[in-house]
């Protein structure tokens, strides 16, 4: 490949991690990326939700939808601010901590980061102001257009960043010449083998997570006996959407695992803690639980389902192609954190199945008529499950990214550029200081976000906002009076 000395191992092998610039830079990137990721997830997913809600308002002119748009936008604004704040370090880190990598891949990867800024960020940023503050300054059509453009901007960001990352997984469209990636065909590089499925997987992940957050928050209000009819509406919209999204995501997730099998066999081996190669034609069992040991290169114990891997990958007990085991690679050429990858992968799958199951169960309730506006608030057990399911999507996304990026190791550009050769040569002490500062700062942000977010939730929707184009007196809440359950919170909590 690059004539890299084989003794240069993956950063985490270092005796002393705190004096290893590569390891520290990796930790810094992993920390900032995994925490940052939580917020754009909602901005992209809830952005689409807001488009639907505001569209429903424009179509029906039912004030409920208008107040939904205003209420969720308030959470959106909080979320967006933290998303931007935590996102800016990401762009600069490529240069500050991964200079050699940036220089080598700038021709393609750098351009794509530029596309993201110009296609996505600017669109989102410019129209967000109108979306949040412009209700009384522009007419409803322009406002709706702004909401749509904000959602498009957010999702274009998913498109470009996943394109860039997919290209790191399956570099295409050019070749390495004298340490630099020279692009021959841009469209081949953009449409690299991982791109379409990875973009879809991430798009669905943000949407599904957002839907369960919207559903969970709505369920919480109903459990609190606050604005039940109002939140039954958002709950049902979210639930209806998961009918499509949750099963589709499992299917796309399955396709994503298949593409890993095809293009990144060492990652698949780590995901399955598969040390020995399973030859073609032999029965392939699927490991349910195991305890991988990197040193002895085997699993200390394992519970496996016979033939299941064969069914998962090819729908038959024996595989026509071998599944390569980790031992096929030298230790320095394969992912090291097998246990982390193995359990992250399983966590993601379990959550995906749980969320789909919750959707299925809720659908049964709906079909049985138990989710009607009169009865929905009585389904307390179901609603509590929704509340507890709200954070699961985030965990699935972060564990998924751990599988994706830790499993790609020891490469930054798969099979082309090693992680150890990608980092800037900054004194480890400096990276340690910045890493610690990021850890403290992001922790503060996470706590403050949860604190202020829960305050917004406790305060609830504001039904005193003027509706654009409506001058007449209107009731305090727009649902039928018989269903209205008054807010029983003390006044000071609502202010």
């Amino acid at each position: 490949m690059l004539g890299v000395p084989v003794h240069r191992l993956n950063g985490l092998d270092a005796m002393d991690i705190f004096s290893n610039t590569v390891a520290l830079s990796r930790m810094q990137f992993a920390l900032t990326a995994s925490i940052h990721m939580l917020w754009p997830t909602l901005t992209t997913g809830v952005g689409i939700y807001l488009v639907v809600i505001e569209g429903l308002w424009l179509k029906t002119r039912n004030p409920d939808y208008y107040y939904h748009a205003r209420f969720w936008a308030k959470l959106y604004a909080l979320n967006f601010g933290v998303g931007v704040a935590t996102g800016i370090p990401m762009e600069f880190q490529f240069g500050t901590n991964w200079g050699p990598f940036s220089e080598a891949v700038g021709n393609f990867f750098g351009s794509v980061i530029g596309f993201e800024a110009s296609w996505a960020f600017m669109l989102e940023a410019a129209f967000l102001g109108i979306m949040l503050f412009g209700w009384e300054r522009v007419n409803p059509v322009i406002h709706y257009l702004s909401t749509i453009l904000v959602a498009i901007g957010a999702n274009l960001s998913t498109l470009w960043i996943l394109t860039a990352n997919s290209w790191m997984q399956t570099p295409a469209g050019g070749e390495m010449v004298k340490g630099k990636f020279i692009v021959h065909d841009y469209f081949q590089a953009i449409l690299n083998p991982f791109m379409v499925k990875s973009v879809s997987h991430m798009f669905l992940a943000t949407l599904e997570t957002s839907l369960f957050v919207v559903g969970g928050i709505s369920a919480w209000y109903m459990l609190q006996n606050r604005h039940q009819a109002f939140f039954a509406r958002s709950f049902k919209i979210a639930l209806a959407a998961t009918l499509l999204v949750a099963p589709l995501q499992i299917y796309v997730g399955h396709l994503s695992a298949e593409q890993v099998y095809r293009w990144q066999p060492s990652k698949l081996a780590a995901m399955e803690a598969q040390w020995q190669t399973i030859p073609a034609g032999q029965s392939a069992s699927w490991s349910l639980l195991a305890w991988p040991n990197n040193r002895t290169e085997e699993n200390e114990w394992e519970v496996a389902i016979p033939q299941a891997l064969g069914y998962l990958l090819e729908l038959k007990p024996e595989l026509s192609e071998p599944v390569l085991g980790l031992k096929e690679w030298q230790p320095q050429d394969r992912p090291r954190l097998v246990g982390l990858i193995y359990y992250s992968f399983r966590t993601m799958i379990v959550i995906g199945v749980l969320l789909a199951g919750l959707m299925g169960g809720s659908m049964v309730y709906w079909l049985l008529g138990r989710l009607s506006f009169e009865k929905i608030a009585q389904q307390r057990r179901l609603l509590w499950v929704w509340v507890w399911a709200a954070p699961l999507g985030f965990i699935a996304i972060d564990t998924g990214w751990i599988v994706r990026c830790t499993g790609r190791q020891p490469w930054t550009l798969y099979n082309q550029i090693r992680t150890a050769d990608s980092a800037s040569q900054i004194p480890a002490s400096h990276v340690l200081v910045s890493l610690s500062a990021f850890a403290v700062t992001y922790l503060v942000l996470l706590i403050a976000y949860c604190y202020f977010g829960s305050r917004i939730l406790r305060r609830g929707p504001n039904f005193d906002l003027p509706i654009p184009g409506v001058e007449v007196e209107r009731p305090a809440i727009a649902t039928e009076p018989a269903e209205f359950v008054a807010d029983e919170r003390p006044v000071e909590a609502q202010q």
């Binding site: 601010g81 800016i88 762009e91 410019a126 109108i130 503050f133 692009v183 202020f452 305050r455 003027p466």
Partner: protein, 339 residues
């Protein structure tokens, strides 16, 4: 093809200069208002200051993100070398950004606002300081080997010259922030910022004189550039024009004009920026690596021109549009999305 290899990097140098200029101008007043918020006497005034930015701060900051992404794609070597050489100033800026960005929403929700007031003010100051040090270091030149890789130390950016540049940049942000507030506010608050604008105009002038005189004296490479024919006439003209503009600015502040101070300040920024761009060009990592050496593959530059270039007028248009939507004075606590 030969001419293309010169032409494309020049086009991208111009585009990135445009992005950087828009950033310095727009986030300049944004950060300036943030720094000025440290001097706000009341909570209400601070609210007005932050409201004057609430709809635009993010788009303003995005010009830098755009410039960073463009630099990464068009001049990968410069992006890698400059950012790793300036690790500390860049991170100062990044942490400043983080705290000031979250302050907008968190402060609005918080009952006790002091922490987020400090986060906003100090964050703005730190971001400007980091940028000033980075600018100072780039003007001084970054030590690289023949292939453009950084060979200096992690503290090279710190020198008394870079301190002067950083302080001057902060002053100029305060100046443009003050004149923005003069334009956007009324009453006592406006009067306060006529005063801060005037003070900042003088302090910026002092810094600018020091830098203008210091650059040819201390930097050999800049000296030869400055006295080159025919550039020497342009460089001779810039200080004269600058003095004229500053006197116009100060007299417009004295006459209590509302919009002209902001416009004169913008003109000053344009002039300074042209001067700096001419000093730096054709280098992208002063004083050794030119744009031609650091440029990405011509095919990349073409693709980026297609994918980003056509969006530049569109981005300018919709940014302008939202300034028009939110035109007018800010009075009291209006403009929040809660009404």
């Amino acid at each position: 093809m030969e001419t293309l290899e010169y032409f494309l990097p020049q086009v991208w140098f111009a585009i990135l200069a445009l992005f950087l200029f828009l950033y310095v101008l727009l986030d300049g007043f944004d950060l300036g208002v943030g720094i000025l918020s440290l001097t706000s006497s009341t909570e209400e005034r601070r609210s007005i200051l932050m409201t004057s930015l609430s709809n635009i701060w993010d788009a303003n900051e995005t010009w830098l993100v755009l410039m960073g992404g463009g630099l990464f794609g068009a001049f990968p070597l410069a992006y890698a070398t400059i950012l790793s050489a300036l690790y500390i100033p860049i991170l100062l800026m990044v942490f400043g950004f983080i705290f000031r960005a979250v302050a907008f929403e968190f402060r609005e929700q918080a009952r006790r606002k002091w922490f987020w007031n400090i986060a906003f003010g100090i964050g703005s100051f730190t971001a400007a300081l980091g940028q000033g040090f980075a600018l100072g270091a780039v003007l001084r030149g970054i030590d690289v080997d023949l292939s453009g890789h950084f060979v200096g130390t992690q503290w090279d950016w710190l020198s008394w010259q870079s301190i002067v540049v950083a302080l001057t940049l902060i002053q100029s942000y305060v100046l443009i922030g003050s004149t923005y507030l003069v334009w956007k506010t009324t009453g006592d608050l406006q009067l306060t910022h006529y005063r801060t604008a005037k003070i900042a105009a003088w302090t910026t002038l002092v810094g600018a004189i020091l830098i203008t005189l210091g650059t040819p004296i201390f930097y050999q490479s800049a000296r030869s550039r400055l006295f080159q024919q025919p550039l020497v006439y342009i460089f001779g003209l810039i200080p004269i024009l600058a003095i004229l503009l500053i006197s116009q600015l100060i007299s417009s502040l004295d006459r209590r004009q509302e919009r002209m101070p902001f416009i004169w300040t913008i003109s000053l920024f344009v002039l300074t920026f042209i001067g700096l761009a001419l000093v730096v060009f054709p280098y992208i990592i002063p004083t050794q690596i030119t744009i031609y050496e650091a440029a990405a593959d011509p095919s990349s530059l073409v693709i980026m021109l297609i994918f980003i270039g056509f969006l530049i007028p569109v981005m300018l248009f919709y940014n302008l549009y939202q300034y028009i939507v939110f035109r007018g004075k800010i009075t009291g606590e209006t403009g929040g999305y809660e009404g």
